[in-house]
Amino acid sequence: MSPLSPDAVHTVIDDLGALLLFTMILIVAAGQIYRAIYSVAAQSLLISIAGAVLATATGNPDLWVIAGITLAVKAILLPWVLHRVVQRMNVRREVEPVIPIAATLALAVAIVVVSFQLSASLGPVRQAITGNALPVGIALTLTGVLVMATRKTALTQMVGLFASENGIFFTAMAVTQGMPLIIEIGVILDVILAALVMTIMVLRVRSTVDADIADLDRLRG
């Protein structure tokens, strides 16, 4: 017996989806690296809330585990590491877009529209997913890729990657049945490892390469 009615879950997931899109816009619009980091932390927090809501609704204990890991790793640990890297390394705080931020914003809006269009055409899948989680997830993933492609600095590209993974996570969580736990854990492990590798690399550029830290900003994806 679930304490939440399906309709209520539906509404909550849709509201969280709207907030997620809002944080994505904040990431795209961020001119300072700190803002991008805080926005992606907020986004991960929203995703762990969504996990908790779905766990309550479905009574699936796996979802609690996933929500907890997301909170610990993606909402707290990774943003903290990024924050420390920015503080310690005295990198330039500007985001340095390749194309103007306004243009990226316009592209992001286009992505959101296309995502809703695309998921409308995927009729049968929509049955299996709560609310608008599918189009929101696709939009987050693609916008994350957009951020990675249009930012020069290594750290902002990492933020884009995390946002992109958040999108996939959100959709995977909202399947009515949930993905098998072992797979979600595998995915999270990979995210942690990737973040670890990237951080090591960002630090290594500084410690072992006879290059100015300004060169870090020139690392292109």
Partner: protein, 488 residues
């Protein structure tokens, strides 16, 4: 777990752990790696033999809830274990004049062993989502070892590789999730829902347009890892900046592992949709890759980048082959084997050349045949094999590929591929000529050092010739069984 399978998967893991635990680095760590790689290779051969003896594609060996080794898995496992053994035996840390910093040798041993294990897991696991996890892990383990020399270029190459492949792999996951959604929505939650055998059995009742979308995601995602154009942009940088044994593993077998994932998904989607769909997508990406690879080779000025672009070209050929029915798939899989042997050998020789000449430019390497007569001749043999000259194996697989195009009456494919292969031939031979002959640059030492690696690489030449001249019965049986495993 089947004993052969344990002996395949565990040794590289153990060697990696030994390298991790022993600190500071000692020489026996490298010997442990070599021995473990040899055990792993022997186990892969044993699995392949067991599969051939079992006979039918639907009767795999070593099946459990998690693992499944059929002909295709065994074929890939043999290639991976072979190249890993070669890279381990010829890698740094075994002694000799070119000893590097111990910390780097430790790092090399940890991550190449981890890299080999992740690749072996990817081809033997039967859950498509865990296969995805393993392939993502190959990116991480290999990215850690690319900047071994810690130059700015290698860190950049590694960064670019991580970032582009993470995006690619995220798309592949989206495709996997999409197929799983449809499965759960249609068939309900079934144990082993993500096993590709189960997916393939139920594919008929799934929604075709959905599986098509999923395949598009999967193809672009794993295609990024396989170096298919236009997602190949990371490949020339990563493969040319990595230490040569790592380049050999990445170019020789990692690309093939990504193609393996695509082949598995193609089998699932083809069970639900007319194969015309997957075939046209593969044909498109494949021909584009061959084209871009061929024309990049014409203007190439660095020999390691030249080998990297040659990999783009060859993966393109494999993709084209997979799209050309049973005969084409046979050619593609044979090509995977040939390419693994020829390309790993060429990269390892390129490492020796780089060590001696200390330049990556083709223009800087002259008089190679006089400076290093054996390395030079073997490198020449490697390039001649890669351009598809007889008596080497790649001639046979490329010939079969063209024949498959003609048999399926896609004459234009045969024509385009032939013209591009000719372009590759002319440009690679021209580059090779400039390296082999001419005046020796002053200050370069003459003569070979550490000649036993050359014996190992000469064995690779032997394998290529055997594959080209006779194509032994057990190998052709194994490949034929693999084909029946993916095409029904």
């Amino acid at each position: 777990m089947n004993p052969s399978l344990s002996l395949l998967l565990l040794p590289p893991l153990i060697a990696g752990i030994v390298a991790l635990v022993v600190r500071p680095y000692r020489r026996f760590v490298a010997w442990v790696s070599v021995v473990c790689a040899a055990v792993s290779f022997a186990a892969s051969v044993a699995l392949a033999v067991a599969v051939v003896q079992a006979g039918t594609p639907d009767d795999p060996v070593a099946v459990s809830t998690l693992w499944r080794v059929d002909a295709l898995s065994a074929l890939l496992a043999v290639c991976i274990a072979f190249v890993a053994l070669l890279a381990s035996a010829l890698g740094p840390g075994l002694g000799g004049a070119d000893e590097e910093d111990p910390a780097r040798m430790r790092q090399f041993r940890i991550f190449t062993n981890a890299f080999a294990s992740t690749m072996l897991v990817a081809v033997t696991i039967q859950n498509v989502a865990l296969m995805w996890v393993a392939i993502e892990a190959t990116t991480i383990t290999s990215a850690m070892v690319i900047p071994l020399t810690r130059t700015k270029a290698s860190v950049e190459a590694s960064w670019k590789y991580l970032l582009i492949c993470s995006v690619g792999i995220a798309l592949a996951f989206a495709g996997t999730v999409l197929a799983y959604f449809d499965f759960v929505a249609t068939a309900g939650e079934v144990p082993g829902a993500l096993n590709w055998t189960v997916l393939r059995e139920t594919a008929r009742v799934l929604h075709p347009q959905l599986l098509q979308t999923a395949f598009a995601f999967v193809l672009i995602g794993y295609g990024t890892k396989a170096g298919l154009a236009p997602m190949h942009t990371w490949l020339p940088d990563a493969h040319s900046e990595a230490p040569s044994p790592v380049s050999a593993m990445m170019s020789g077998v990692l690309l093939a592992v990504a193609m393996y994932a695509i082949a598995r998904w193609k089998a699932v989607v083809d069970a639900a949709v007319d194969p015309w769909f997957t075939n046209s997508l593969l044909l498109g990406f494949g021909l584009l890759s061959v084209t871009i690879g061929a024309f990049s080779l014409v203007i190439q000025r660095h020999y390691k980048r030249m080998l990297a672009y040659s990999s783009v070209e060859h993966m393109g050929l494999v993709a084209v082959g997979l799209a050309l029915g049973p005969l084409g798939t046979f050619a593609a899989l044979l090509h995977v084997v040939n390419h693994a042997v020829a390309k790993s050998m060429s990269f390892l020789l390129a490492g020796r050349i780089l060590h001696r000449y200390d330049t990556t430019e083709i223009g800087g390497v002259t008089g190679l045949l006089r400076v290093m007569p054996w390395t030079g001749s073997l490198f020449a043999v490697g390039i001649l094999a890669l351009v598809g000259l007889p008596p080497f194996g790649l001639f046979v697989s490329e010939f079969l590929l063209i024949r498959a195009a003609i048999v399926t009456s896609r004459f234009w494919v045969a024509g385009v591929v032939l013209v591009l292969l000719l372009t590759v031939f002319v440009s690679l031979i021209a580059h090779l000529n400039r390296m082999l002959y001419g005046e020796m640059p002053s200050g370069v030492a003459i003569g070979e050092t550490r000649s036993w690696p050359l014996v190992a690489l000469a064995l690779s030449v032997g394998v290529l010739i055997v594959l080209g001249v006779t194509l032994p019965q057990p190998i052709s049986t194994l490949i034929a069984q693999s084909v029946r495993g993916v095409i029904r």
